[in-house]
Structure formats: C-alpha cells, structure tokens
Subunit: 147 residues, 4 copies
C-alpha cells in the first residue's frame, strides 16, 4: 500500500505538532524517523519513567506508542485538520527494561475520518532488539482543529 | 461480587508499591482512594502533561488509568506476588481538559493468575464530572516478584 | 445520562434491521429487550454453537455482544444512517457453558459519527447469573446507508 | 523468531480440535494452512453469514479470526494442555463483501501460560486482496484440559 500525504507541508506540520506536545518533552521522547504514514519515537530509560520494579512504566511505553501512531496518521491528513486518539489497545509482550525504547507507528488503513495504525515498541540493548509491545490505534481527523 | 484481599497487609503493600512508581511521581499523580479491588488515582492538570491542543495527553490519561487498574488488582493478590499489566484497551470519550482527572480502577474478575479490571477516568471541573475515558485491563499475578 | 432517539421510528428500524441479519437467525439469537441506547440479545445453547470443549465458541459469544452493542447505538442514530462496527475489544471472563447467554449492549457515549458502547454477556443457569464476557465497541454512523 | 512446537503431535492435535469445533462447521469454515505458530482459516460467503447490508457479519469475521489465532497458539503448546481465548481486540478495516475471507493467525509472542497472536483477515475477489480486519489475541494455555 502506497501512502501519499494530502498536505504538502506534512513534514513541518508533524514536527511542529510533536514539539508542541509538552508531555513528550516531559518524558524525554524524541522523534527520530518521519515518512508518510510512518513515525518512530525514541525514549531513553530514566529514573523518572519507571514502575515499581525499575522497568519502563506501561504508561510511558504506551505514551510513545500512541504518539508514534498518532503522528503516522497525521502525516497523511489533509491540511487544517487535527488528530485525536479515539481508542487503542496494547499488549505488553516483554519487560521493558532496555536502555532505549523505539516506538514504530505505521498506518494500516488511512481514511478521511478514521485512520487505523499499529505501533510496535522495541527495546534495544547492546544492539539486540526485544519486542516490548504491540498495539492498534484508531485516530480521528478533526476538521478545523489546528495541529 | 464481594472482593476479599488474600494478603492481610494489602493496604501497606499497595501504598508502598505506588510510592515506588517513579513515573507516577513524575506525572504528579496521587493515590486518593483504596479499598479491596478499588483504587482511585488523581492527576492535576499541569503544563507538563499536555498534548498539542493543551489537553491531557492520551498517554497521561492512560497511565493513571493503568495504575488504578493495576493497584485495584494488586490489592487482591496473594502475598509475595507482583503485578504486571499484560494488555489493555482504552476509549477516549471526551477531551481531557478539566483541571483534575480521577481514574477509578475496579476489579471485574479476580483470578489466581489473570485479573480483569476496568478503569474509568473522570474529568472534574467546577464540581461537574465528564467521562473522559473507559478501559479494560488484564493484570498478571507474578509469583516471587516483589511488589 | 439521558439517551434520546433522534429518529421517531427508532424501534421499528432496529427490529427490522435485526431481522435482516441472517447471521443472527443462523445462530438462533433473539432480540429480547429494546430501549433507547439499550439492547439485549439472547442466545440459547445449541450443538452448532460450541467450541472443542462444548462451551459457546468465543465467536458466538462475541457475535451477540457485537449485535447488542451495534443496535444499542443504532437506536440513537438519525434517520437515514446505517451502523457499522469499527472495532471492539472483548474479555472472556468465565467459561460460557450455561444454557442461555444474554448480551446486554449499552451506549456509553453517543455521538454524531462515533458512538461508544459496552456489552456485557451473562450466562444464566438455574436462575443464577455468571459474567461471561465484557467488551467495548466503537460504532460508526454512516449517512445514506439504509439500515 | 523461530517457533518450535513442544508437542510432536501438534499437527494432528490442531486438526482434531478444529474438527471438534461445531461452530466452525456451522459457519462453513475450513482450515486451509497449518504450520508451527501459523494457521489460516477460510470462510466462503453464504447467505447465512450476513449482517443487514449483505456483508459478512462482524461476528463471522471475528469468529474465524479468533479460531485462526487460537490454533496458531495451540500448535506451539505442550501436550495435555488446552487453549482458551482470554481476550481480543479487532479493527474492521474495510467492508467484508468479498466471496472468500481468509483469516491468517500468527503467533507474535509464545509463552508457557499466555501466548499473544495476531490475526489478519483478507477478503479475496477476482484474485485481488482487501484487508478486511486486523486483531490482537491473548490465548491461555490450560494444563490438563483436553484439546
């Protein structure tokens, strides 16, 4: 499936919106890859992000998975529309205790109103990859909402 | 359905584990209600928690929903077992732009290995409540994992 | 939350559409309760509906849960719109081996385009109720689609 | 990820169990592909399987998706354990109005107790494939349950 942006300024728009997400800054997340329908977000382990066993909190893992899916969707939206997450489901597959997480958001089915995306979160340690989480997301395109 | 804790120290155990979740501290979340199979977590709006439109980020909303569900489950677990989230699904029902969110985690079906819980997130503004999100969570009881 | 039908003919419309679902007939499902935003569907145990252990197949349980949620949503839709299930998640809580299942679909959040509903499936045996499944559903209102 | 069966009789076991699912027979579903961690199930369009617009009912689509995921999991289980679906989530991506559906169940993360699988449902018409649905499933291995 070839995914085509409808907004020629899609790249600036996604980066501007990501930078406006204070929560991503608060976590320390970075947008490390951007293509039409595909966004990768990286999160380095820090003490502030842990649950009681010292792993990444499921909420931190899910937050980057959600932003990666949301921006993968936004990269394909028409100009002058904003993105909201309607719902998602995530399976936490392995303990997230690697030094770096990468959330790979990919559009599965683009649409005018609803876009379905998946997000796979990979933990990276010493060059090896662990599949930490996989999720499915429904994103809504909201006309007139600045993003 | 009557829910009975199997560990007489359930209350101390849940509070200790919650306090050990650095991520909850980083968000500014507080445990405000605790009963067998029921945990409420409160999150006050701060600039650090927003997405690009100034609402609570879906990741912040989900994080407190997840912790509320997880601790509702842990409150019923046997001693010397830890809790991990296996998977969850959440629907974001209304924009989360109220000054305060309360995530109400409630056990739906307790079990020795798997416990199913729901979490409803309410936004509170001027005494009025808005149903911000609803989710279903599968929590796993892990023997020998300190919580 | 008070739920008001937008179509004065909502009741006839839901019953007509349910009767047009051949799959519900094939399963032997019956619409046993109908109110604005609330639909109950009953399914009696038959040999044709079982999985390998003789319980109701998860697919049969989910099918009535889905129809109950979908018709709870349709009962609130404007005239001349149809209903499609966009996505759902279901947790199977207890073995479905009772003589009768009742799926109770209830609208959680009505909307012009997206409606969120839940569905709880109850197994009934000798007057006792077992909570067999609980699910969350996103239903889409499709203008111009006859239902 | 290489997936290895733990039971040398995995193939006979999966086929025997599938044939014992009366519900699959009632739908007209056929097991058309079987490998360790991978099962395809085919469902031909029939009048008995439709919703009110003449498409496959979401419940029929989900039923074959669930069985494909469940048997992909069972193919990797130890002998003398049975499989139950704990929960799943499915997104219906495109109208299911093709003459044939194929549900492709694939194990994402095998485990002793919990196995996570995905299932993609493809509609086939005149040699062209349409992505009809995608879902994530949690399967439980139940010791001592004959499958």
């Amino acid at each position: 499936m070839e995914l085509k942006p409808r907004d020629p300024d899609w790249e600036v728009r996604v980066r501007t919106s990501f930078n406006a997400q204070n929560f991503m800054t608060h976590l320390g997340a970075e947008l490390v890859h951007l293509a039409p329908g595909a966004v990768d977000i990286e999160l380095k382990m820090q003490d502030t992000l842990t649950q009681q066993h010292g792993f990444f909190h499921a909420g931190a893992t899910s937050s980057v998975a959600d932003s990666a899916a949301g921006y993968a969707a936004l990269s394909l939206f028409a100009a002058s529309t904003g993105v909201l997450t309607s719902e998602y489901k995530i399976n936490l597959l392995n303990p997230a205790r690697q030094p770096v997480l990468i959330a790979r958001g990919r559009v599965v089915k683009p649409g005018r109103t609803l876009t379905i995306a998946k997000s796979d979160v990979i933990g990276v340690e010493d060059g090896a990859e662990v599949h930490v989480a996989t999720g499915l997301f429904t994103l809504v395109s909201v006309p007139g909402m600045k993003d």
